[in-house]
């Protein structure tokens, strides 16, 4: 056993909590977010549900980064662990840009119609 992250407050986490717990948490969040996207009608809330999904994905990445499989751990643990964290950082940056644009669109449509409801978006039918 290689010495584990003694500088961290939750040093013993990796021995005591299995990977599945983290994954379950993220899966539940992801599913809830997806359900929210479908059932909610306010575009801002729908967007928040999407953010929830993205965060669930981030959690998955970090959990996998911290718990590499046996094979990965044997072959190139450092590389694999850092990859997951990099993805999370990029996802955060991308989400920020997405938020800027998304809220801009919601504002634009609100200014045009003074209301915002995904179900009422029915100008186009076919």
């Amino acid at each position: 056993m290689i010495p584990i992250l003694t500088h961290l407050p939750f040093a013993a986490v990796f021995d005591e909590i299995p990977l599945g717990w983290f994954l379950t948490l993220s899966l539940v969040m992801f599913t809830l977010g997806a359900v929210g996207v479908v059932v909610r009608r306010n575009p801002v809330v729908v967007f928040m549900c999407i953010e929830l999904m993205l965060n669930a994905v981030n959690l998955t990445f970090l959990a996998f980064a911290a718990y590499p499989t046996q094979m990965v751990a044997l072959s190139n643990p450092g590389e694999a662990a850092i990859t997951g964290q990099m993805v999370v950082i990029f996802v955060m940056a991308i989400a920020a840009a997405e938020v800027a644009v998304g809220l801009g669109i919601i504002m634009a449509i609100f200014r045009l119609r003074n209301e915002a409801d995904v179900d009422d978006m029915n100008t186009m039918r076919g």
């Binding site: 010495p3 992250l5 013993a12 986490v13 059932v39 306010n42 928040m48 911290a66 964290q85």
Partner: protein
């Protein structure tokens, strides 16, 4: 049950409370607040996972900056008292829950169950530290880093385009 496990369960309960709140609270403001709770708790979970830099970023960027934007927009849109609480009897609601349930069960059964046992890992000492992340970001991930900077520019120009006066 160890202290770590208890801490995790408490955190995940909070996170789940936030997640459920986002979906089921009937006003956007409450949903946003629930999302803040969720994001903040996730930041703590990231700490547990040893990614301290990302945990801090999560709290600062997500729970801080992004959520402020959200709240700002909600306030502007004056839709604080709009009620669009999902109707439990609605067909869309039932079907989406059913679909999500099936997918959830399948992923849980086939992907997550096998990992329930996986605990011990080997780590480099520098795992999750700013130094390591910075080094990788500017060497291996230099190109995506540049592109993401362009992406932010796209976001800015796009927002301007959507907001500025005609021509």
């Amino acid at each position: 049950m160890t202290l770590n496990q208890i801490a995790f369960i408490v955190l995940s309960c909070l996170a789940l409370f936030g997640a459920v709140g986002v979906v089921f609270f009937n006003t956007p403001v409450r949903s946003a607040m629930a999302l803040v709770v969720n994001f903040f708790t996730l930041g703590l979970v990231y700490f547990m996972l040893g990614s301290e830099l990302i945990g801090i970023t999560q709290i600062m960027v997500y729970a801080g900056a992004i959520m402020v934007l959200f709240l700002f927009v909600i306030m502007i849109l004056k839709s604080t008292n709009d009620t669009d609480k999902p109707q439990l009897g609605e067909r869309r609601f039932i079907f989406s829950l059913l679909g999500a349930g099936v997918v959830f069960t399948m992923i849980y059964r086939y992907v997550i169950m096998p990992t329930m046992e996986r605990t011990n890992v080997q780590f480099t000492r520098t795992y999750g530290t700013p130094q390591e992340i910075g080094k990788t970001l500017f060497t291996q991930y230099a190109w995506p880093f540049e592109i993401v900077s362009m992406l932010l520019l796209v976001g800015i120009v796009g927002s301007i385009m959507l907001a500025k006066r005609r021509f």
